[in-house]
Symmetry: C2
Subunit: 323 residues, 2 copies
């Protein structure tokens, strides 16, 4: 009986499918493609498959104990780690796809410049066709930045900030272990002493029990009044009401949120009209960029060959740790 | 009789004035500070001064044949070159201040990302509190860029694009002479053959008779439909009506204009509501950034010592050539 690979993805081009088909053949797998798990034939394939390449818990829910590897096309795998019942086989391997650094780092540079250059100040006057003189602005060049999270995202963001001439980039991670591209790394346990000296905080943390509410009301109050906050990790890392109140009261200079709670944000949520806040609908790290799609498929194909050869795969997730 | 330096600037801090005072003393100059040429005492000082450090033609208009050097704090000196009657002394030296590369290049990176990431598409839905899925986007990483103008601005922009991972940066200048930071330089005379292969055009040209209307209707039509245009040079470099029509008809993908004609743009000008256009009120390269102000004063002080010593100054402008 042949081994089965089930692919449930809606972003694949013909070239992507061709590449996956060729790799599956080399690895000794039959492959079937579906754009959603609801399609006819998908249920049977999900039940049988040994390997699943998908991006939603809905696909995983259709699998059986035959599943030995779930290749997740997303970077954040918190939904899978928080719900072990999704895996009929408790030893099923979970890998994530750390291929969003390019698109997310470009998003971060964009909103960082929008905040430093006071673009929220211009938003409404420009809508009214009003020509304004610029208030004082700041630059990335010679600026200092604090990155909460030094994984694939944090590292790529640090490299881009460096390319723009940043003077000092401090990273915080769980272990305090050094990561290149940063000037200094501190353990997250020192966050309280770092925040009062942070003028620009970029949050790129995975969703784990330890990161929920990590920037709470007390810590937001530790930030200086000229501080900006950007979040591209998970919305629940920030105590959202407290951030909104700090922005309304001018206790921090501004913020950009691409992730929030809940998503989509309901039209009547007060976050929409918060001053000095740039709000975007979770667009920093999706499949909108061709480079991300290509890298996603490339990573999966590399991993499929490694899986077939019994080698260590890239992006293996410790489901207990959550990343 | 002592030599007189007249300073007409509204951006100077006490530290800046202290630095200028100390340098003037070393150079053998008496210095007087005014924030506008209309202030009491300014008229007399302007009449007498040998050196003027200012940023508006209004200040220069008050000077006499005694003026031997006009240190202009702006980068663009087209108003001075187009009106020789401003200089009572025909041999008066004119220098400009090429210190806007940092702030203008950060503006360019910001709007480049806003265009590539389709931010104009989100503008109105976000105002209506609408949560949208992202359309396809592009990245600076691995992108190709054409820069019209390879002076201080063009070069600094190229360095920033490189820092963001751009794959290929083509520069066009008058001579076709090589400039570091570019992959290739071509003479502007080859513009017509370059435009059809240009997917991102950044214009950073000085205002000279040759640059007026350089991107005219015929050349706009040479751009491919996926092309974006950014202008941070002079508004009159673009045939504005033709650009607006191309944007309205979807013949190019988008544009960002920080300079336009006229400035300020009247509230009823149709440019305000042009689709896929990012319009900002000439904020890319002003004195809003502290770094720009510091560099401006630093450059002037260096030049003042060179002037006093009879050495060649930085930023000397050929008034006939216009830059």
């Amino acid at each position: 009986m042949s081994r089965t690979l089930c692919v449930v993805q809606d972003f694949l081009s013909d070239a992507h499918k061709e590449k996956i088909r060729g790799t599956a053949q080399k690895a000794g797998f039959d492959v079937q493609f579906f754009t959603t798990p609801e399609l006819s034939g998908a249920a049977d394939c999900l039940q049988r498959c040994e390997v699943l390449y998908a991006g939603t818990p809905a696909a995983l829910r259709g699998t059986s104990a035959a599943l030995r590897w779930y290749a997740c096309s997303a970077a954040g795998v918190d939904p899978y780690c928080q719900d072990p019942s999704l895996f009929a086989n408790p030893d099923c391997i979970l890998t994530n796809s750390n291929v969003y650094g390019t698109t997310i780092s470009e998003y971060v540079i964009m909103v960082t410049l929008e905040l430093l250059r006071q673009m929220p100040y211009f938003r409404e006057p420009l809508q009214r066709h009003e020509w304004l003189v610029s208030p004082p602005i700041r630059s990335i060049k010679d600026g200092t930045f604090t990155l909460l999270g030094t994984g694939d995202l944090g590292r790529t963001i640090a490299v881009r900030l460096r390319g723009m001439g940043a003077r000092r980039i401090l990273g915080l991670n769980r272990s305090g272990r050094n990561v290149d591209a940063f000037d200094e790394i501190l353990p997250i346990s020192q966050l309280d002493s770092v925040l009062p000296h942070t003028s620009f905080l970029i949050m790129a943390l995975p969703g784990t029990p330890e990161t929920v509410g990590i920037l709470d009301r007390r810590r937001i109050a530790l930030l200086p009044p000229d501080a900006y906050v950007v979040n591209v990790g998970r919305g629940n890392a920030i105590e959202q009401d407290a951030l909104r109140e700090a922005l309304c009261a001018g206790k921090i200079a501004g913020a950009a949120l691409d992730v929030m709670e809940p998503e989509p944000l309901p039209p009547d949520n007060p976050l929409w009209d918060t001053p000095n806040l740039i709000l975007t609908p979770h667009i920093s790290g999706n499949m909108a960029l061709g480079y991300t799609r290509d890298e996603n498929v490339r990573l999966f194909c590399k991993n499929l060959l490694r899986y077939a050869a019994g080698e260590k795969m890239m992006g293996t997730v410790d489901r207990a740790r959550g990343y």
